[in-house]
């Protein structure tokens, strides 16, 4: 080790580091360290000339370890590892000292900051001495995919994959495909038939030889890791084991139970129905009140269960346009009927939706705005009134308390996470938010991936969304899967935990601790094993192991202790 040749590169980051830290001094001090043969300060180390400088020094001076004191490794560790690889050095012979986020950006005293930067750099120099050459690994990618949920999202994902020549196992819990969309009449804003949308997909999916559909089925277990999952599907009283490389979770949503809002009396008043019950009427082509008469006045109430303190704070996103659609469908069936639309805010985002809102006004839907967290009250009608009841609304736009005549009330029930979402989350090892929706890897940049590699979420199981968005997510997930299938193998980071089989006592402390389910227990050998493809190198098992049998590659004890000593 004594004959190691270490190069230290101190980045000025323009003035980001230099304005507080004396980079030349940090470099000069680094040069005093054992094994350091060159130390340089430069304007932008991550720039091409900066990287070239490192590559040149490695080649000309025969450096075998490199320390870069610069920004956070999250920013440029990959950049500098690339430079090392280019120079023919193992990329893991790099260590970065963060003297920007953890020093120049947070300190104002140049003297103290410079000293701290020198300390951090010294720690990195001491640590890098112990770095080992690590090699990246690859695992096979099984081209088959498990799709959980046979709604519009699941069907789209299944078709996309199958029509590209890949095997799909489509698991549907109920006895029919189509999901919630199969219960809908027309879709907003173009008034296309939902039946046509879904039926065509079901036919294609059931006829495609690459898709195996399991009805009345459930995924019992899922083991393995990205590219190499094993699932057990229970259907028709038997359990079918399948091998898959990826999982698409498209379990959808559950309509909100309107009877929970006591004020509307859903379930007891025959003239108060939910949007899904109204869809059933529309599909039958017969809009009637509880008394079996065509209604003269229909009132549609938005945000039932949504945007409320009592139930769900979020917006269910599709109800506004669906409510406007009812105006169109009612006026088409009963041209003389009056349609009241009671909303909190009209959310008409999305292509064609603002125009659809305008059309609703043009066909004479009467809009009323009521206060959030209040519910319009049902008031009995007198014998002389030509309506079944009145709905008392505190109309925000006129400031008046108005009684509107009503024969039929349609409650726009929102979406909520399914009761079994917790079970599904545990099965595929993903997380849920406070409302029960599955959490994506990154809300903006990685919306369909999850914290478990190879498991994707799409559609309404992630949060309420419309058909377009659900289909887009299904296709996004399949694009991600097909990219992996096309590569044929999956690169696994060289940094992961390893269990020394000789030291492992088989106590299984680490098994439940691993947040990624990456630890496998071999019951015969009575030893635990880390599945490297699933390990994220968090180190939880390493610290917990009572036998010190687990080693975190690239985070070994001696590396960390050397770094601490160096800093101190």
């Amino acid at each position: 080790m004594d004959n190691q040749k270490i190069g230290v590169y101190v980045c000025n980051c323009g003035t980001n580091i230099k304005k507080v830290v004396d980079c030349d001094e940090v470099a000069a001090k680094a040069l005093e360290q054992d094994g350091v043969v060159c130390a340089k300060s430069y304007k932008y180390m991550c720039s091409n000339p900066g990287q070239e400088m490192i590559i040149k020094d490695i080649k000309e001076q025969g450096l075998d370890r490199v320390v870069v004191s610069a920004c956070s490794p999250r920013m440029h560790e990959a950049t500098f590892r690339g430079a090392l690889a280019k120079a023919g050095l193992n990329p893991y012979f790099l260590e970065m000292a963060n003297i920007r986020e953890q020093c120049s950006w947070v300190h104002v005293d140049p003297r103290a900051a410079t000293d701290k930067a020198s300390d951090l750099t010294r720690g990195a120099v001491r640590r890098v001495v112990h770095h080992e050459a690590l090699e990246k690994r690859f695992v096979d990618m099984c081209p088959a995919t498990l799709v959980i949920g046979g709604g519009i999202t699941g069907l789209t994902a299944a078709l996309e994959l199958a029509e590209s020549g890949n095997q799909v196992y489509l698991v549907e819990q109920s006895d029919r495909l189509g999901g919630n969309l199969a219960n809908v009449d027309l879709t907003a804003p173009y008034l296309d038939s939902a039946r046509d949308l879904i039926r065509e997909r079901i036919l294609r999916a059931t006829r495609n030889p690459n898709i195996t559909v399991f009805m009345n089925a459930k995924v019992e277990s899922l083991d393995g890791y990205v590219g190499n999952f094993r699932a057990r599907i229970a259907a028709d009283g038997e359990t079918v084991p399948v091998e898959i490389g990826s999982v698409v979770v498209a379990t959808g949503y559950k309509p909100f139970d309107a009877s929970r809002v006591k004020a509307f009396g859903h379930g007891t008043n025959p003239n108060v129905i939910t949007s899904f019950e109204f869809e059933a009427m529309l599909r039958k082509g017969r809009i009637v009140t509880g008394q079996g008469r065509p209604p003269r006045y229909v009132t549609v109430i938005h945000c039932v269960g949504s945007r409320s303190e009592e139930f769900h704070p979020y917006c269910s996103r599709v109800c506004c346009m669906t409510a406007l659609k009812y105006g169109q469908e009612i006026k088409a069936a009963l041209p003389d009927a009056f349609v009241y639309d009671l909303y909190i805010d009209m959310h008409a985002f999305g292509k064609g939706c603002e125009d659809f809102y305008k059309q609703a006004s043009e066909i004479r839907t009467i809009f009323m705005m009521f206060q959030k967290n209040t519910a319009p009250q049902i008031v009995a009608a007198g014998p002389k009134d030509d309506c079944e009841m009145f709905l008392r609304v505190d109309d925000k736009l006129s400031g008046e308390e108005v009684d509107i005549p009503t024969d039929l009330i349609v409650l726009m029930v929102g979406m909520e996470a399914r009761e079994d979402s917790g079970e599904v989350a545990r099965l595929v090892n993903i997380s849920r938010d406070k409302d029960g929706w599955f959490i994506e890897s990154h809300p903006k940049l990685d919306p369909v991936a999850t914290t478990t590699d190879g498991v994707y979420i799409a559609g309404c199981c992630q949060s309420p969304k419309d058909i377009n968005e659900s289909v887009a997510q299904a296709r996004a997930a399949t694009a991600r899967i097909m990219a992996k299938i096309a590569k044929g193998r999956i690169e696994v980071d060289a940094v992961f935990a390893e269990v020394n089989q000789d030291d492992c006592s088989g106590c299984r402390v680490c098994n439940d601790l691993c947040p990624y389910g990456a630890i496998d227990f071999d019951p015969e050998a009575k030893r635990s094993n880390v599945i490297s493809a699933m390990c994220k190198a968090c180190g939880a098992c390493v610290t917990a192991c009572p036998s010190a049998a687990i080693k975190g590659r690239h985070f070994t004890d001696e590396q960390i202790f050397a770094q601490i000593e160096g800093v101190l």
């Binding site: 006004s361 009467i366 108005v402 509107i404």
Partner: protein
């Protein structure tokens, strides 16, 4: 206290010329841009809302349509093309019909053929009556002096009789307007002292249309003031100086000069309004109700026949002058009978009254805030 909604009111107002009322989604741009929209009379948004909801009683008690002069800026700004300006116009027509106790106004506004039939009927009755009268008291070949076909003294007496009858109708309607907007609701009841104090407002707005001149667009006010002054001049000449104006053969130049100027003013302004409506040159000309056309056509007809009978008389054609005079009367009588108490012309009273009442409502509100007028009970 909850008020009951009537979803049929919008359709009712549409027969009065309202357009696309339900397109309004209450962004409030119209109200922000209106130069007259000030507390406590914020319009036209709230009036639009009362109408959309079908709050009939609220709308009846509403003075705001009369505070609007339809400059059209609201309609130009409306992102939904809900035509708030035209809605306010239709509300004025509707309110005119609500104030009218006879129901004639309602009939005239809602059915153009009823209006035409009414005009025709009154015109024929007038023509027949004056023909009978003229031939019994005089000679159709004599225009003035003794034995005149339509002696000015008789016409003068007829004018005053008609004015008394029409004035009575209009007065009753004005009282009804007061009751609907001021009297009915205890919250808008002003003290007699307030009525006296604000009387100046009534006269000011009646004679000057000062408020109209405060619109951002000045041209409509100019046209209106010329039309109105011409009309008033003519009215004064006829009601008070008919023997001087009509009788000959000597010419009273002062009276005639005024008459010529007023006739020219009427014809030019009415022609401009007609051309504007045909070309839809301005926002407030974009939508024309049947009553707008009939009103302008009648006014033009009356002005032209008036000038013509005068000219024929002066040129020495008494027979033709008498016939034209008869035709003139056949226009002027139905126009006044229908328009003054029951239709568009009633606005000469309703507008200044509305401004008077609006000032009083502000007084009442301020007095109540100061604790001077206790709130007795709510309606």
């Amino acid at each position: 206290m909850a008020v009951q909604a009537d979803p049929r009111l919008v359709a009712e107002l549409e027969t009065y010329g309202a357009q696309d009322v339900l397109k309004c989604y209450h962004c409030g741009n119209c109200t922000a841009v209106c130069p007259f929209s000030k507390e406590p009379f914020i319009f036209p948004r709230k009036s639009m809302r009362y109408l959309q909801m079908g709050l009939r009683e609220k709308l009846k008690a509403n003075l705001e349509p009369w505070l609007c002069y339809y400059c059209g800026e609201c309609s130009e700004q409306c992102p939904r093309e809900a035509e708030p300006g035209e809605t306010m116009m239709s509300m004025r027509r509707w309110l005119t019909a609500q104030y009218d106790f006879t129901g004639i106004s309602n009939l005239l506004y809602r059915s153009w053929w009823a209006e035409l039939a009414g005009i025709l009927l009154i015109a024929l009755a007038t023509g027949f009556g004056f023909w009978k009268f003229g031939t019994s008291v005089g000679d159709i070949h004599v225009y003035d002096g003794p034995n005149a076909f339509l002696p000015s003294s008789a016409i003068h007496a007829f004018d005053w009789t008609m004015a008394t009858i029409l004035g009575t109708f209009l007065l009753v309607n004005c009282v009804r307007m007061w009751w609907m907007t001021m009297g009915k609701d205890p919250r808008t009841r002003a003290t007699p002292g307030m009525y006296v104090h604000r009387l100046g407002q009534l006269l000011l707005h009646f004679f000057t249309q000062k408020r109209y001149s405060e619109c951002d667009k000045k041209a409509p006010w100019r046209l209106h003031i010329v039309l109105m002054l011409s009309y008033v001049t003519m009215l004064v000449l006829i009601m008070f100086f008919l023997p001087v104006v009509q009788a000959g053969p000597a010419i009273n130049w002062w009276a005639h000069a005024l008459g010529y100027a007023a006739s020219a003013g009427l014809i030019v302004t009415v022609a401009m309004a007609l051309v504007g409506r045909i070309r839809k040159s301005q926002t407030h000309y974009k939508h024309s109700h049947e009553t707008d056309w009939i009103f302008l056509a009648m006014l033009l007809y009356v002005a032209v026949t008036g000038v013509l009978q005068h000219a024929l008389h002066r040129l020495g054609h008494p027979y033709a002058a008498n016939i034209t005079y008869l035709a003139h009367l056949m226009g002027v009588v139905p126009m006044l009978v229908l328009e003054v108490p029951f239709s568009k012309w009633a606005h000469m009273c309703y507008r200044p009254l509305a401004m008077y009442f609006a000032a009083l409502q502000i007084d009442v509100m301020e007095a109540r805030e100061a604790g001077a007028v206790p709130e007795t009970r709510t309606a």
